[in-house]
């Protein structure tokens, strides 16, 4: 090990939402003098508004700190921030790969949550040194001894050794810094070997192009070096390299063990893929760092502009979002009911929600999203297999040999009293029970195999309701498996509504069809004529409701002189009208296209 490496520590923080990761990060920045309290505008690492609001980290970031430890040595600490949500588990795994250690933050009141466990397992798989800490020990509801015990059960750290801190007050932060230096091993790697730099994140900057955040595993990168990305063999010059403090600080070299950034006029963020390896053209590494894969979307939804004029704006906005989010995919889609839009693929539900919200907030776009669905593998009678991410592209029943759907392994961590209710929920969602383990006397880890399609909507909400908010949940994809699935279609006055097609398990189709048309009946206002609502599998109608014709629609009195009120009602109605979509001759409000989502309200 070179001497400079012995004074580097690369680490990340693993924590559940709200357990205090960002606050702790702020304290570390402060304690190391990386920025003063005055500069500290709450939770600097979460630089997107949305992140700050939700208290979660969507994109990972990194920051370099200097720390003079008790032994008088000056250390470089690289904190690599990781996203906290399951949708981004691949990004998490790459960020973890860039570290030698992880600080596991657990809320002393709430205890360990499912997401923490998933990320913790990832950290263990990556051979990281884990430093557990109990946070928020100053809060009234804290149960540090119980939670410390569950940490011992989980990773073997002696309960009495678990560091107790308060990121809020700063209590214990100094000890934590000392432990980081003492326990986390310094990076290894040969600065003279061929270059291997792991891209653990990338961001897009309008002026500089794609900026890759890297951890150098082997070799040394110098400013101006000709480099290439090993997955796609794209070549660039390292025009600027440097380290990440509060701002980017250019340097002349980045050596094995260091963390920094590379700017090379990369126009497209899709060329700087997370997990990829950068090497030098002159002296290339023989193999890349393992673990790279192309991230594939798991959840799909149709995005349609409420106003058809906005189609091009929507495309431009998605283009812009993709600059910073290589995992976002989309292609044009046409719907009879909703017009021109896009089929958008996401890593998961949170990812979808974030994209939706960013379109609204950053681009002011009003969109309708169709019910999310997963990707199916359809095997034809002739043996050929196609992938279907849109219910409307499902081949005819006669051509299908079998349909396979993605399954996930789910872990649910819950106070034991809710196990019964949660098992019922999983059963209803076609789950297969795997195992239950107890983390401590009060909390259990429930494992199930579930079809992904059963959790893409309202599963999480149900889980929270049943457990009164205490259970947490995480999942990972396991495999595609054959299921008895059918396409459920909805017709409005005989016209099939493509935007309302769903793929469901045969056993659930009848109930779903019934509920769906009933909900639509509530949502579709009376028209001049009677409207028939039908749910069908193939040509067979399985449920029907009728919206009676509107017979009377007249305001009796124009309220003395209060014309404004009547006019405002009219204006409101007019606004509502704009949001209506035409199916045949029927005006359908946009909420109706989300009827499936609100069926159980």
């Amino acid at each position: 090990m070179s001497s400079y490496q012995s004074r580097i520590r690369n680490f990340c923080i693993i924590a559940h939402i709200d357990h205090g990761k960002s606050t702790l990060a702020d304290r570390l920045l402060e304690a190391t003098g990386t920025l003063s309290e005055r500069e500290l505008h709450a939770q600097v690492l979460d630089s997107m508004d949305l992140e700050r609001e939700r208290g979660i980290t969507i994109k990972s970031h990194a920051i370099r700190m200097n720390y003079s430890s008790a032994d008088g040595e000056e250390y470089t600490l690289n904190l690599i921030d990781t996203p906290g949500h399951v949708d981004f588990s691949y990004e998490v795994s790459r960020a973890l790969n860039a570290c030698e250690g992880a600080v596991l933050v657990v809320d002393a009141a709430q205890g360990i949550e499912a997401q923490t466990i998933s990320n913790l397992y990832l950290a263990v798989e990556n051979d990281l040194e884990i430093i557990p800490v109990l946070n928020k020990v100053d809060l009234p509801g804290a149960r540090p001894d119980v939670v410390a015990q569950s940490i011992e059960n989980l990773i073997g750290e002696k309960a009495e050794d678990v560091l107790r801190i308060s990121a809020k007050t700063g209590e214990g932060v100094q000890q934590l810094l000392d432990q980081i230096v003492a326990r986390i091993p310094p990076p290894s790697g040969d600065p003279d070997a061929p270059l291997k730099a792991l891209v653990f994140d990338s961001v897009f900057n309008t002026y500089r192009g794609a900026i890759a955040y890297v951890r150098i595993f082997d070799g040394t990168l110098k400013k101006g070096d000709a480099m290439k990305f090993m997955s796609n063999r794209k070549e660039y010059d390292a025009e600027e390299i440097g380290v990440l403090r509060m701002n980017m600080e250019p340097t002349k070299t980045l050596r094995a063990g260091e963390v920094g950034y590379i700017i090379g006029s990369v126009k497209d963020v899709r060329d700087t893929r997370v997990g990829d390896t950068i090497t030098l053209i002159a002296d290339p590494a023989s193999e890349s760092i393992s673990g790279f894969r192309e991230v594939k979307p798991m959840v799909f939804s149709g995005f349609f502009p409420t106003s058809t004029d906005d189609f091009e704006d929507l495309r431009a906005s998605l283009d812009k979002l993709q600059l910073n989010d290589a995992s976002l995919t989309y292609e044009p889609e046409t719907s009879v009911a909703l017009g021109f839009g896009f089929r958008v693929g996401f890593l998961g539900l949170l990812h979808m929600e974030i994209v939706q919200e960013r379109l609204d907030r950053e681009f002011g776009l009003d969109i309708i999203t169709t019910v999310p669905n997963v990707k199916y593998e359809v095997e034809h009678k002739d043996g050929s297999v196609v992938s279907v991410d849109n219910p409307n592209n499902m081949p005819g029943v006669g051509d299908i040999e079998q349909i396979r759907e993605p399954f996930v392994k789910a872990e649910i961590i819950t106070p034991s009293e809710y196990i019964g209710g949660l098992m019922t929920l999983c059963q209803e969602r076609r789950g297969t029970y795997i195992n239950t383990t107890y983390l401590d006397t009060e909390r259990a880890n429930l494992e199930y195999e579930l079809p992904l399609s059963e959790i893409v909507f309202d599963f999480y909400d149900k889980l929270k309701t049943i457990s009164r908010g205490f259970a947490s949940f995480d999942y990972e994809f396991t495999k595609f498996r054959s299921s008895d699935l059918v396409r459920l279609e909805v017709m409005i006055n005989g016209d099939p509504v493509d935007a309302l097609s769903t793929i469901v398990h045969r056993d659930k189709a009848y109930e779903m069809g019934r509920k769906l048309v009933k909900k639509l009946k509530e949502l579709i206002p009376r028209q001049m004529f009677e409207v028939a609502l039908q749910a069908a599998i193939g040509s067979r109608v399985i449920a029907r409701e009728t919206v009676k014709a509107m017979r009377k629609d007249v305001t009796a009195k124009c309220y003395g002189g209060d014309i404004s009120r009547k006019r405002k009602l009219l204006e409101k109605q007019k606004e509502g009208k704009k949001r209506m979509k035409q199916v045949g001759s029927v005006e359908v409000p946009q909420e109706a296209f989300l009827a499936v989502l609100s069926m159980n309200d």
Binding site: K552, V554, T555, K557, C558, G560, S564, L570
Partner: protein, 382 residues
């Protein structure tokens, strides 16, 4: 020529369906009268010399709770601060339980030319359901008395579509009004307004509102019955024998200027763009206090551009039997529905909701009248 509306916010009890502003606890009307005179003087200062007054409408609430002297005082005060020399109509809302020959004669003497009588129904069960404070015999007696005291020009309010009201009752109500020779009828379909006792009862499931097909039948029956009896259906809810239309109300539908006095009253003034609408605070005490402190009692102010006015015109005029004048809409409001809504107009005609357009007039058919709001929403722009 402008109109004046005076809101008298007192009631003896609360009608279950009413969402107008009123109080049932006033011990003295003196503070109200003082503030009202103050307000008349204020507005008179600004508007008194701008336009002559054509119609005055004293409504509520229950104006007939006021002493006759107060009515005289109000009219005198208006005469002092406005040019009322050419007033052609002074309407006064009267509740059946408040009438006496003496009171009616006093009103006549004070200058009231037209009564609007809150009969609502000639059946006790209906009146009880609405929590009205009069009985059915008063409903009839007040009409006879009004005529005896010299009021030929009066209007009677009737409400249809009460939950559980037998259809025959509604027919009987209309029959009674026609039989009594009532020259003007305002028939209102019961509207369930939020924050009323009726709304609450419905939410609690104690009362089931009539279905809209039933209400449609009642309205259609009303139109047919009264048209056969010689009444002119000149606005959505207004029927009159020849020459008995309400001039004041027609002012609202013709964008005539009007000034409102009293808490919650509304005003409209259009003398150059933007036109303005404003409304007083909906609170008697605050309205009084503001006026006493020589402050404006207005709480809502709106400026209306030409397109908004045009849309108001569509909304208001489509309700009248004259109909919506597309030529006037174009030259006064700069809105051409021939350009903007030709598809909708053709559709409405093909559906039988409007008559074929002649002389640029869009007029509702009886089928169209049942769906006035829907038709309006098809025609407004923006």
């Amino acid at each position: 020529m402008a109109g004046i509306y005076i809101h008298v916010p007192f009631c003896s009890q609360r009608c279950s369906y009413c969402d107008f502003y009123f109080v049932t606890t006033a011990k003295s009307y003196a503070p109200y009268m003082r503030a009202l005179q103050q307000e008349i003087a204020f507005l008179g200062h600004t508007y008194g010399s701008r336009e002559k007054i054509d119609t005055i409408y004293i409504g509520g609430g229950t104006p007939s709770l006021l002493h006759g002297d107060d009515v005289t005082l109000i009219l005198a005060s208006l005469a002092e601060h406005f040019d009322t020399s050419e007033v052609t109509e002074i309407t006064f809302e009267l509740n059946p339980e408040d009438y006496s020959d003496e009171y009616l004669r006093y009103l006549k003497h004070a200058g009231v030319t037209r009564l609007s009588i809150g009969v609502q129904s000639f059946f006790d069960s209906d009146l009880q359901f609405m929590n009205r404070s009069h009985r059915s015999q008063e409903s009839e007696a007040v009409i006879i008395a009004a005529r005896q005291c010299g009021f030929d020009n009066f209007s009677v309010d009737l409400i249809f579509g009460l939950p559980d009201q037998p259809t025959e009752y509604w027919a009987a109500n209309l029959e009674k009004a026609v039989e009594l020779g009532v020259p003007h009828l305002s028939t209102y379909g019961l509207t369930i307004e939020e924050k009323t006792p009726l709304h609450k009862q419905i939410q609690l499931g104690k009362v089931v509102p009539v279905r809209d097909d039933e209400a449609a039948e009642l309205y259609r029956f009303t139109m047919t019955y009264l048209q056969n009896a010689g009444y002119d259906h000149y606005e959505t809810s207004s029927f009159s024998l020849p020459s008995y239309r309400s001039r004041h109300n027609q002012g609202y539908w013709h964008h005539r200027n009007y000034l409102g006095f009293g808490p919650s009253s509304h005003s409209f003034w259009w003398a150059g763009l933007p036109a303005r609408r404003w409304a007083n605070v909906r609170n008697l005490k605050r309205w009084q206090a503001l006026l006493e402190g020589r402050h404006s009692p207005v709480e809502l102010r709106e400026k209306l551009d030409l397109e908004t006015l045009g849309n108001e015109y569509i909304m208001l005029r489509i309700r009248t039997s004259e109909g919506l004048d597309l030529a006037e809409l174009e030259h006064t409001y700069g809105l051409s529905l021939y350009d903007e809504r030709i598809v909708e107009l053709a559709w409405l005609e093909s559906e039988g909701l409007i008559r074929p357009i002649r002389n640029d007039l869009v007029q509702l058919t009886d089928d169209g009248k049942l769906l006035t709001d829907m038709v309006t929403s098809k025609l407004v722009t923006g």
